[in-house]
């Protein structure tokens, strides 16, 4: 490698390094806007902005889903296994909505500390397996005394 080439290589490395730093700082400054949702804990501790449209992400708490008999209203609790918030939604839920499922809701908090959702999105995890395997895993957990 000649001196000229080496200088160019150092220049390129320096260029990529500084662009990475700059991008990193921008993304760090914008981190709260890039995060798609707040957690229920953040909402309870007041980190989430009040009176504005926000998203909250968490798990649908077990045995907390109450469906209205007359319309599409559904009330459930959204938890991050620490704090929980009550969510009210009127509309069609995604197929993956079920108890224990990770979901993201978009809406506003009302005065009764109830979150009025306008949109419910389901998250799914990065695990893919046939249903027989899932059933086998469930049995195993039950035998060992864990929940599913």
């Amino acid at each position: 490698m000649t001196l000229h080439q080496r200088r160019k290589l150092y220049f390129i490395i320096l260029m990529i390094f500084s662009i990475t730093i700059a991008t990193g700082l921008i993304l760090f400054a914008l981190r709260q806007n890039i995060n798609l949702f707040y957690t229920p804990t953040q909402l309870v501790s007041g980190e989430a902005p009040q009176g504005r449209m926000i998203r909250i992400g968490g798990l649908v708490e077990k045995n907390s889903v109450v469906r209205s008999k007359t319309d599409l209203t559904v009330i459930f609790r959204l938890t991050d296994l620490d704090k929980a918030v009550e969510v009210r939604y009127q509309g069609i839920l995604p197929d993956l909505f079920r108890e224990g499922q990770g979901i993201v809701v978009q809406g506003k908090l009302n005065n009764q500390h109830q979150f009025i959702a306008e949109q419910v999105l389901a998250k799914h995890d990065a695990n893919y397996m046939p249903s027989e395997v899932k059933a086998a895993l469930k049995d195993r957990y039950k035998k060992d005394g864990y929940g599913s």
């Binding site: 990529i16 662009i19 993304l27 995060n35 993956l96 990065a126 893919y128 046939p130 249903s131």
Partner: protein, 245 residues
């Protein structure tokens, strides 16, 4: 060693030895694609949560992987251009950019089709989806810059620097799901742990990945050969080669 490499990289010899290679990879593509699609659609079991809808993974994940992989190749070529003035690398970037853009678009479209039934939305501005969209714009930007600088001196260096700057987006796309809260789930295969996909679902995915890579190599050889024909159209060896046909 270097002499041999230079000889192989010369347009004339490259044009000759790349021909059987291109047909070989085209054949591989057809074989892998047939096996991959068949095993993905019929042999792999349905997912415990998503049922049969998860099968779009066999298009979505390979195209998303290729969108990053192609850009990494382009960045390596850009480095060769700027530091070592390796002119042939410019041809590779030119041939690769539209392919990378197509893979990115395919990943975005299949992801969108997958997102509607599973998440409940076609599109959401989360970090993974947004950074992948930026990647598409980068590809299109490289193509536009190349076209607008056609026949200008040192145009390949300008394009190479743009490619290198855009490389910042590649780690962002990959790590977005672990750096921020996103609707998109985390990595299934490319992580430092056992893939969290059952093996009879994984094999079709890997075969499809091989199919996508073979397709990319085939198209790269094809496009490079076309570019060489165009660039060398006035040389005598072209006349001899085409005279044979």
């Amino acid at each position: 060693m270097w002499a041999l490499l230079y000889k192989l990289a010369s347009p004339k010899t490259f044009y000759q030895w790349s021909r059987p290679l291109m047909y070989g990879f085209a054949l591989l593509t057809i074989v892998f694609l047939t096996i991959g699609i068949f095993s993905g659609l019929f042999l792999a079991p349905a997912d415990y949560q998503q049922g049969d809808a998860f099968r779009i993974i066999y298009i979505h994940v390979p195209s998303a992987f290729m969108s990053l992989f192609v850009y990494a190749i382009m960045s390596f070529c850009a480095l060769l251009i700027v530091v070592w003035k390796f002119k042939m690398a410019d041809v590779v970037i030119k041939a690769a950019a539209p392919l990378g853009a197509s893979f990115t678009l395919l990943a975005l479209v299949t992801g969108s089709i997958w997102g509607k039934p599973m998440w409940g939305t076609w599109w959401i501005w989360d970090a993974r989806l947004t950074s992948e969209l930026i990647l598409l714009f980068l590809y299109v930007g490289v193509m536009a810059l190349q076209t607008s600088l056609k026949n200008k001196p040192r145009s390949e260096v300008i394009v190479a620097i743009m490619v290198l700057i855009g490389f910042v987006d590649i780690p962002i796309v990959h790590y977005s799901v672990s750096w921020w809260n996103t609707l998109h789930q985390g990595a299934t295969i490319l992580k430092f742990a056992k893939p969290s996909i059952s093996s009879n679902m994984l094999y079709p995915l890997l075969i499809m990945l091989m199919a996508f890579i073979s397709y990319f190599v085939t198209m790269m050889l094809y496009r490079t050969r076309t570019e060489i024909l165009w660039r060398e159209r006035k040389s005598t060896w072209i006349k001899n080669v085409l005279g044979d046909l």
